[in-house]
C-alpha cells in the first residue's frame, strides 16, 4: 500500500466531528457567547427605543426581556430626539471632534514617526519602544491623569505652563471650547502610539532606492517628503485614520471623566449624550433611540469604508 493511499484512508477514517463543515461547531460557543452579550442587547435596545421606558415602569412586574409596564409609543422617541436642539448640538460636536482630533492625530503621528525613523537618529529602536509606552496604560488611568493636567486650579500642569509663559490661568473644564481643546489633546495622546506604529512600519517599507534616486536628481528633504515618502505611506495612514476616526466618533471616556460633557451639556459627544439621557435623566426610551441613531452613523461610516477602502480584502488573505 502506498503512502498516499494510506493517508487517504486515514482521512476517510476521521470521525464526523472532524469533517469540514462540522468544524463550525468549534466556533459556535464563542459566537453564541458574543451574540448573547452583543446582538441580543442590541435587539432589546431596538425594542426599548419604541417604548416610553423608564426605570420605574420597565422593571415593574418582573420578567426577562419584557417591557414591564412601559407602553409602546411608536416612533415618538425618535421624533422627540430628532427635533431636540441638544441632539443636533451633540451630533455636530461629535463630528467636529472627529475632524479636529483626526487632523491632530495624523499630524503628530506622522511627525513623530518621521523624527524617529530619520537615518541620522541613533538608538531609534529604544526611542520607538519608549514612544509606545502610553499604549500599555489603562485608558481610565491616562484620562484621569490628563484631567489632573487640565485641572482648573493653578496646580494643574497646563495652567502651570501658562503661568510660566506669563499668561493667566484658564478654567479648562468650565469653558466650552477650552474643554473641547482639552478633549482633543487627550485623544491625541491616547491615539498617537497606534498612529506611530503604523506609520513607522509603512515608512520602513519605503524602498531606499527611491530616496537615493530622488537625491541623485537633486531633490531636497521637503520635496522628497512630498513626492517619495507621502505617496508610499498614504494607504496605511489612510487605513489607520479610518479606524482611529471611528474610535473618535465613539469617544466616551474622555468627556465623561473630564466634566461629563459639560459645561451645561454643551460638549456631550453623542455616546455620552445617550448615556446621560438614560442613566442620569432616567429616559431609557429616548436614550435607546439616541444610541441607535449613533450606531447607525457608525455602521454607515464603517460600511462606506469597507466598500471604498477595501478593508475586507485583507481578511480574505488572512
Amino acid at each position: 500500500m502506498s503512502t498516499t493511499s494510506r493517508i487517504a484512508d486515514r482521512a476517510a477514517a476521521i470521525p464526523a466531528i472532524e469533517r469540514e463543515d462540522v468544524s463550525l461547531l468549534l466556533v459556535l460557543p464563542g459566537l453564541f457567547l458574543f451574540a448573547a452579550f452583543m446582538f441580543f442587547p442590541m435587539l432589546y435596545l431596538l425594542g426599548i427605543s419604541f417604548t416610553n421606558a423608564r426605570p420605574s415602569n420597565l422593571f415593574a412586574g418582573g420578567g426577562f426581556l419584557t417591557f414591564g409596564e412601559a407602553t409602546f409609543v411608536g416612533l415618538q422617541n425618535y421624533a422627540a430626539v430628532l427635533s431636540d436642539g441638544k441632539f443636533w448640538n451633540s451630533l455636530g460636536t461629535t463630528w467636529l471632534f472627529v475632524a479636529t482630533s483626526l487632523v491632530l492625530k495624523i499630524g503628530l503621528g506622522l511627525g513623530v514617526a518621521l523624527v524617529v525613523t530619520n537615518r541620522r537618529v541613533r538608538g531609534a529602536r529604544y526611542l520607538r519602544s519608549l514612544l509606545i509606552v502610553p499604549m500599555g496604560l489603562p485608558a481610565i488611568f491616562t484620562i484621569t491623569i490628563w484631567r489632573g493636567i487640565f485641572s482648573s486650579a493653578q496646580f494643574g500642569l497646563a495652567n502651570q505652563l501658562l503661568s510660566w509663559l506669563g499668561a493667566g490661568t484658564v478654567a479648562w473644564l468650565n469653558e466650552r471650547w477650552a474643554a473641547f481643546f482639552a478633549y482633543n489633546v487627550t485623544e491625541m495622546w491616547l491615539a498617537y502610539p497606534f498612529m506611530v506604529i503604523i506609520t513607522v512600519s509603512a515608512l520602513q517599507d519605503v524602498p531606499k532606492e527611491l530616496h537615493e534616486a530622488a537625491m541623485v536628481d537633486g531633490a531636497g528633504y521637503f520635496s522628497r517628503f512630498l513626492h517619495v515618502t507621502l505617496p508610499s505611506v498614504k494607504r496605511p495612514v489612510l487605513f489607520a485614520s479610518i479606524l482611529t476616526a471611528a474610535a473618535s466618533f465613539q469617544q466616551f471616556l474622555i468627556p465623561y471623566a473630564f466634566n461629563e460633557g459639560g459645561p451645561a451639556r454643551l460638549n456631550e459627544l453623542i455616546i455620552v449624550y445617550g448615556y446621560r439621557e438614560a442613566f442620569q435623566f432616567s429616559q431609557y426610551g429616548q436614550g435607546a433611540a439616541i444610541m441607535l441613531v449613533a450606531v447607525a452613523f457608525i455602521g454607515a461610516f464603517m460600511w462606506l469604508n469597507v466598500k471604498k477602502g477595501r478593508l475586507a480584502d485583507g481578511v480574505d488573505e488572512a
Partner: protein, 360 residues
C-alpha cells in the same frame, strides 16, 4: 512549565540587550572619533547626527512628560488636595514613599492557630503561626489606608472567570478558523475583525439594554455576570489574534503527525497548542486585562463595595480631600504592572498591529 521558562528567557534576553547598550554606544563613539581623526567624517556630519538624535530624544521626552509628572507627584509627599495650588518641580525636595504606603495599607499575615485532629483519637496537633508583617502602615504615619486591596480582590474575582470562560471558547474557535474550511468561516472572521474596531462604542451603546437585562434577572451588581460579559467582548479580537498565530504553524507538521498515526485530537494537543505557546500567552494576558481595565460597564453595574480597580480609581478623583500625591500613587500602583505586562506582550502583536494582512 515551558511557558514560564519561555517568558523568563525572553525577559533575560531583553535585560542582556539593555546591559549591552552602554558598551555598544562606547564602541560606536570610539569608532566615530577615529573616523573623525582620519578625516573620513566631518565635524558637520557628526554635529548633524548628534543634533538629530538630541531632537528625537527631546520629542520623546516631551511626549512622555505626563507620566514623569505623575511619578514625581506621587513621591513628592506634599499634602495639597487635588484642587490645591502647588508648583511642579522636576525633582521633589522631600521625596517620600508615604503615598504608596497609603495605597497598599497594612500587608500583614495575621497570627493563625491551626489544629489538626488525628483521626480515631483525641489527639490534636496545634500549630501557632507567628504574625508576619510585610508592611505596617501606621509605622509610616498612615492611619486610614485606601481601599486598594478591596478593589484588587474585586478585580481578581472579575478577571479570573473572564479569563477561564474566554479561553474555553477562543482556543477551539481559533483552531477551527485557522485550519478548517467551513461554511460561514469568512463571514465570522470578517465580523470579528470589524467588531474589534467598533466594539467599544457598541458596548456602551447597548449598555442601556444590557443593564435592563441584568436587572431583570437580578444579576446587576454580580461580579460573575460581569465576567461573562467581559469574556464575550474579548472573543472577537483574541480569536482573531490567536488564529493569526496558528496560521504561522506549517501544515506539514500536522501532516507528519497524522502520517505517524496520531489521532486528530492528539495533533491538536501535541502539535498545534505547544507550537502556539507564545500566542496563547499573549491572548491570556489580553483576556485577563479586558476585565482588569474596563471602566464604564463596571461603573454602571457595580455598587461601591464591589468596585473594581478602575472604578475605584475614578471614584477617588471626585473626593476633594484626597491629596494629589496619594491619587497619583494609587493610579501608578494600578497602572504600572499592566504597562509592564503589556509592553512584554507587545512584541507578539506588533505584527498584528501593523495589519500586515489587513490592508488592501
Amino acid at each position: 512549565m515551558s511557558l514560564v521558562s519561555l517568558v523568563a528567557e525572553k525577559i533575560a534576553d531583553d535585560l542582556r540587550t539593555l546591559a549591552n547598550t552602554p558598551r555598544e554606544l562606547a564602541v560606536e563613539a570610539r569608532y566615530t572619533v577615529r573616523a573623525y581623526r582620519r578625516g573620513e567624517l566631518s565635524a558637520l556630519q557628526i554635529g548633524r547626527t548628534a543634533g538629530a538624535t538630541a531632537f528625537a530624544m527631546l520629542v520623546v521626552a516631551l511626549l512622555l512628560f505626563p507620566i514623569y509628572w505623575i511619578a514625581m507627584s506621587a513621591i513628592s509627599g506634599t499634602g495639597g488636595s487635588v484642587y490645591a495650588a502647588g508648583g511642579f518641580s522636576f525633582f521633589p525636595e522631600n521625596p517620600s514613599i508615604q503615598p504608596f504606603v497609603w495605597v497598599l495599607g497594612d500587608l500583614i499575615v495575621p497570627a493563625l492557630t491551626i489544629s489538626l485532629n488525628v483521626p480515631f483519637s483525641d489527639l490534636a496537633l496545634v500549630f501557632n503561626t507567628p504574625e508576619i508583617a510585610f508592611l505596617d502602615a501606621s509605622d509610616h504615619g498612615v492611619d486610614n489606608p485606601s481601599d486598594f486591596k478591596q478593589y484588587f480582590v474585586n478585580s481578581v474575582i472579575v478577571s479570573v472567570p473572564t479569563l477561564i470562560l474566554a479561553m474555553c471558547v477562543i482556543v477551539p474557535a481559533a483552531y477551527a478558523l485557522s485550519r478548517r474550511k467551513f461554511i460561514m468561516r469568512r463571514k465570522v472572521l470578517f465580523g470579528y475583525v470589524l467588531f474589534t474596531q467598533v466594539g467599544g462604542g457598541l458596548g456602551i451603546a447597548s449598555l442601556i439594554a444590557l443593564y435592563a437585562m441584568f436587572v431583570q434577572v437580578g444579576l446587576n451588581n454580580n461580579r460573575l455576570a460581569l465576567a461573562a460579559y467581559y469574556a464575550a467582548t474579548a472573543v472577537p479580537f483574541n480569536t482573531w489574534l490567536l488564529k493569526t498565530y496558528m496560521d504561522g504553524i506549517p501544515v506539514s507538521y500536522e501532516e507528519a503527525a497524522l502520517v505517524d498515526g496520531a489521532p486528530p485530537w492528539r495533533v491538536v494537543t501535541e502539535v498545534i497548542l505547544p507550537l502556539s505557546a507564545a500566542g496563547l500567552a499573549t491572548v491570556t494576558i489580553f483576556t485577563f486585562l479586558t476585565g482588569w481595565m474596563e471602566f464604564v460597564v463596571a461603573q454602571t453595574m457595580l455598587s461601591a463595595d464591589k468596585f473594581t480597580l478602575p472604578v475605584g480609581l475614578f471614584a477617588l478623583i471626585d473626593e476633594y480631600s484626597i491629596p494629589w500625591a496619594r491619587f497619583s500613587a494609587f493610579a501608578l500602583t494600578f497602572a504600572s504592572p499592566v504597562m509592564l505586562v503589556y509592553l512584554f506582550a507587545q512584541r507578539y502583536i506588533e505584527g498584528g498591529l501593523s495589519f500586515s494582512g489587513m490592508e488592501g
